[in-house]
Symmetry: none
Subunit: 232 residues, 2 copies
């Protein structure tokens, strides 16, 4: 049970109603040609049309609000945000959800930069987190595992060490894409030991506060990983 939770990262479960509602409402917005400033139907009305209770609809609306798609105003209604772009972004992602090369490309771009920034800005705490990730990965590999957990930790630690919340957000965005497209295996090289070695190179450059070296090492690492992955 522990294993499956680790590997899958998501349980098999989770068909939440409000998530479906978000999809449906997004689709409705598009089909009804609603633009920024337009109002969604009233909650009572919408709930009935969608065949759910108001309480559940309220959850979906909260989700849409957090996503920045709508702005719910007491007494007025749910008004579409200025830029429906977020909606289309999300929708767009769901459509062609399998552009592996492009995702690798984007990830590579961000991570190379993050590595360079991490080298320039890392604190001792950041370094400790990176080392810890390497230890975890090393331990996992010794246990015969692929070291995926440690790998994840490592990249998170590097992202944190870069101290750029905007870039971190973009990485989170991509991480989501990767998860949603069920490409969890992306980034898992064929040979764990080799991967560990390239991680160490990155860590060393960050420790030495060598931005160029860190960027190069990260680039090499990602190319190694994606080459292996794309040759399948």
């Amino acid at each position: 049970m522990e294993k499956t939770a680790r590997l899958g990262l998501e349980r098999v479960t989770r068909p939440r109603l409000y998530e479906q509602l978000v999809e449906q409402i997004l689709a409705y917005i598009e089909s009804a040609q609603l633009g920024p400033g337009d109002l969604l139907p009233a909650e009572r009305d919408l709930a009935e049309r969608l065949g759910v209770s108001r309480a559940t609809l309220a959850q979906a609306l909260v989700a849409l609000e957090v996503l920045g798609v709508i702005d719910v105003q007491h007494g007025t209604g749910a008004v579409l945000a200025r830029r429906p772009s977020v909606a289309s972004v999300i929708k767009g992602l769901r459509e062609h959800r399998s552009r592996l090369p492009e995702i690798v490309e984007a990830r590579s771009t961000l991570e190379v930069k993050l590595a360079a920034l991490a080298a320039a800005r890392r604190t001792e705490d950041d370094l400790a987190a990176i080392d810890h990730a390497l230890d975890v990965m090393s331990q996992e590999i010794n246990d015969g595992d692929r070291g995926t957990h440690g790998d994840e930790l490592f990249h998170q630690a590097v992202t944190g060490a870069a101290h750029s919340s905007v870039l971190a957000q973009l990485m989170a965005f991509i991480a989501e894409m990767i998860l949603e497209t069920r490409m969890e295996s992306l980034g898992q090289p064929g040979r764990p030991e080799q991967s560990l070695a390239s991680h160490r190179k990155i860590a060393d450059a960050i420790r030495a506060q060598d931005p160029e070296g860190a960027a190069e090492a990260m680039l090499a690492h990602i190319e190694l990983v994606s080459d292996v992955e794309l040759l399948r």
Copy 2:
């Protein structure tokens, strides 16, 4: 009425209960020293402690789930996501919705890559769009304008020429941040002619299918722009 809506961007109103709950729960997580994988108290319990109904608590949990802080599992409970740092990141974003340097940094990272890709992948049509943008910008400057429209067109054309929808979406994401933080002026250099010249350099490298050159030219352009901007 139109005016106030434009200026304020947010109405004076909006004290939503679930938003307060999100804050409180975030604070609780921190104070209780909860880490990744830990469980939040049961809904009924939490609702009582916070003095709200389950329905409202459910909305707060949806918000936290969308924000990536927790993962609610049917029958088990609300489990904290991998990294609790997300919480602080989110909080940070709410406070001062992204700082200028970080945005410049992220934009620079993406645009440099986009320029290189554009050089490698541009079609004749892409080239035509880029040239058109330069024409527009040139015309605007001749008319005494700052050439902002042409500038925008240019960057859009380059983004399009890179043929990477994922990176394009990340750029859209950043564009939104820039707008939302009311820093529309970001990227408008002090001297339009100088800016036009650096745009031409980028365009030339893309035309010549020279990725390194394009990347360099873009980097130089952005550094010029942001230097001017940051010296205010």
